[in-house]
């Protein structure tokens, strides 16, 4: 049966790592179960000629394309967007782009300000000290003073250069009198706490071969383990167990030899991301919690938000070295972030100016078009036009919570251990479509002002579900939320969720800075109130 862990964490990604480090440092006994394995930086292809070839398969962000045994497949037949993620120590941060964005104060007050969705159970000011703390732990590079935010503590490292693409994008924005700022990134511009200075390879989304980018296998797990946290990899959790008192008592997991184990625990924290966490809660609870554990509200899995992504690419005559990293963003803009109802929709989006990568691009996507369009002389023409001579303005579009957009258990699809897979049901709303159309029009203007010789747009990229949010939302009312403001289940007092599932709204920002700040705030609260908590014995 084994020992009873003081805290069991499920998932070793961003939120799980933050929780493990801080609990272990406070002397709490932690066991973490992670279905993936440890990945070493020399497995990444960013420093090898085969980088683009491998990014289309082994290092593709869509688990359905990778098809690895460590992933679970996902039924996306009823979704406009594919959810993207990675299973391993560090979770999806192994392949994230490390845009390190705070939400704005208004993001926590959407209902009060715009009459839609809900307010969060805390404010920007409540979260601010934890954002500051996470900036230091991750080694964020950025420039203080962005007028899109209230004054804040400067990040620990100077900003990475914005490069030729950033300067060109900025000139266009200045022409129009629009906001831009050197983008904050969880990528060190100087060597930092054992990590290298970013070498600008631009392969961040297929893993950083330089051990520079702040993925939590590098930033958090070494400290957690040094303080006694036990990390078990290849451990796929199939159910959270519940005792006679209705408390979480641990989890059943399967090792890579197919053997089942029961890890008992006084307290369980689920950090399996916005898809994996609702899947696991829906798989748990048995007869006592029909409809899933922690689900008396019926909202587990609902209100999935994934930030539909659209983009505008501008092509320029001058050489831009536009394969140079970081892959994420050189500058960002919040010019059209806040609501202006005269536009015909509410909320907005952050824009990010990004490089466009290597020469291969997405050749495999051309099948079926007239041959001469994609191949022959036009292949060379298109490559010469794009490669090294283009940049992308991307749109992180805020999608509003809609209970119909959801994660459910699939009837037939399973992972390699026979555990039912998640199925995604997700449609873009009218508000989102109007928002994207408006932003694409403005981006075209920004590209023209930057001097683009030609412009192309992608109205919705299907492989864009990088951000998985909302499926176990926080709130004060147990009837309309799954968790309280500390990520504790309203139904099961020793069960906690700390990943992106907790989000009440999605904002128009990449979410991981906020996921980590919320995880840290919740864990600190857990440590402070340790003596008063109900735990399973």
């Amino acid at each position: 049966m084994g020992e009873i862990a003081e805290v069991l964490i499920i998932g070793a990604g961003a939120s799980g790592a933050v929780a493990a480090k801080h609990l272990a440092e406070a002397g709490v006994g932690v066991v973490c179960l992670e279905q993936g394995r440890e990945v070493s930086s020399d497995e990444f292809y960013g420093d090898k000629p085969e980088w683009e070839l491998m990014s289309q398969r082994l290092w593709h962000p869509n688990p359905n394309v990778r098809g690895l045994a460590t992933d679970y497949p996902i039924d996306t037949s009823e979704s406009d967007v594919n959810p993207l993620m990675f299973a391993g120590v560090g979770g999806s941060t192994l392949i994230y782009a490390a845009h390190w964005q705070r939400f704005m104060p208004s993001d926590f007050r959407v209902r009060s300000l715009d009459g839609v969705a809900d307010d969060w159970p805390f404010t920007y000011q409540d979260l601010e000290p934890f954002y500051d703390h996470m900036d230091v732990e991750m080694g964020v590079s950025g420039l203080a003073g962005d007028p899109a935010y209230p004054p804040m503590t400067p990040p620990p490292l100077p900003p990475l250069p914005i490069g030729r693409i950033g300067r060109l994008a900025a000139k266009g924005m200045n022409e129009l009198g629009w906001h831009w700022w050197p983008a904050p990134q969880a990528i060190p511009s100087r060597a930092y706490r054992g990590r290298s200075q970013c070498a600008r390879r631009g392969t961040c989304m297929q893993g950083c071969p330089e051990q520079a980018k702040a993925s939590t296998d590098l930033t958090h797990w070494p400290d957690a383990i040094a303080h006694g946290a036990q990390l078990i990899t290849g451990a796929r959790v199939r159910e959270i167990t519940v005792n006679a008192q209705g408390l979480a008592s641990g989890a059943i997991w399967i090792d890579r030899d197919g053997v089942e184990h029961h890890q008992r625990a006084e307290k369980v924290i689920v950090c399996a991301n916005g898809v994996g966490t609702p899947r696991l809660l829906l798989l748990s609870g048995g007869d006592r919690f029909a409809g899933g554990l922690a689900n008396s509200s019926g909202l587990v899995g609902r209100n999935l938000m994934m930030h539909p992504y659209a983009a505008t690419v501008g092509y320029f005559d001058e050489p831009l070295d536009s394969w140079l990293g970081p892959a994420g963003q050189a500058i960002h803009s919040m010019q059209f972030y806040e609501t202006d109802k005269s536009r015909g929709f509410v909320r907005g989006a952050k824009w990010n100016a990004m490089p466009t990568g290597g020469p291969l691009g997405m050749r495999s996507a051309y099948g079926g078009a007239p041959l001469e369009e994609a191949w022959g002389e036009n292949l060379h023409r298109a490559t010469q036009k794009r490669f090294g001579h283009s940049f992308e303005w991307g749109i992180i579009a805020e999608d509003l919570p809609d209970p119909e957009n959801r994660v459910v258990l699939d009837d037939s699809l399973t992972d390699t251990d026979g555990i039912p897979s998640p199925k995604i049901i997700y449609r873009n709303s009218d508000n989102t479509e109007k928002l994207i159309a408006f932003h694409l029009d403005r981006q075209r203007e920004a590209m023209e002002a930057a001097g683009a010789k030609s412009i192309s747009t992608t109205t919705l990229m299907r492989d864009c579900g990088w951000h998985l949010m909302g499926t176990c939302r926080m709130g004060n009312d147990p009837e309309t939320s799954v968790l309280d403001q500390w990520g504790t289940s309203h139904d099961v007092p020793n069960l906690h969720v700390l990943d992106g599932s907790t989000f009440v709204t999605s904002s128009g920002f990449n979410p991981t800075a906020t996921i980590c700040a919320i995880a840290l705030r919740s864990v600190m609260h857990m440590i402070e109130t340790r003596a008063d908590q109900r735990v399973a014995s």
């Binding site: 420093d47 398969r57 704005m104 700022w181 392969t203 140079l324 079926g368 490559t383």
Partner: protein, 142 residues
């Protein structure tokens, strides 16, 4: 290693030259260096492509002109043609000869120098944004 039979390789190279001809200063597929070895390398790294590549190449008739075969495949088996294109272009853009012409050394290391930081401060590119002042909405004042 020889990942393809001679017949299939001949078909791949012929169609490869149709898809990637000599033009605009770039060499055609089979003139880009030892593409046979690079194709083998691509298939070793992406073994899942081999099956659909072979199937597509087997549809090319003996003696069929490469351009006509490519057109026909694109109509009748677009996924197959796309696989041929993917294998050929992946190999092509990894050839050192091709990369040299393109001025691409791969995703090289190019750490930033201090001079590159803050250039937008030195030439005032960022100044107009600073001068316009705060743009965020304060929830307490609406």
């Amino acid at each position: 290693m020889n990942a393809l039979s001679d017949t299939r390789r001949a078909a791949l190279n012929a169609i490869g030259d149709v898809l990637i001809p000599a033009a605009l200063g770039m060499p055609r597929f089979t003139d880009a260096g030892d593409v046979d070895a690079m194709v083998d390398h691509v298939l070793a790294l992406r073994p899942e492509l081999t099956g659909s590549l072979n199937q597509a190449l087997d549809r090319v008739g003996a003696g069929e002109a490469a351009a006509a075969a490519a057109e026909r495949l694109n109509r009748e088996d677009p996924d197959g043609l796309a696989t041929i294109g993917l294998v050929a272009s992946s190999a092509y853009y990894m050839m050192p000869e091709v990369r040299q012409i393109m001025g691409y050394r791969g995703q090289e290391q190019r750490p930033a120098t201090v001079d590159e930081e803050h250039d937008y401060m030195r030439d005032n590119l960022l100044q107009p944004v600073i001068d316009r002042g705060p743009i965020y909405r304060d929830p307490d004042s609406g």
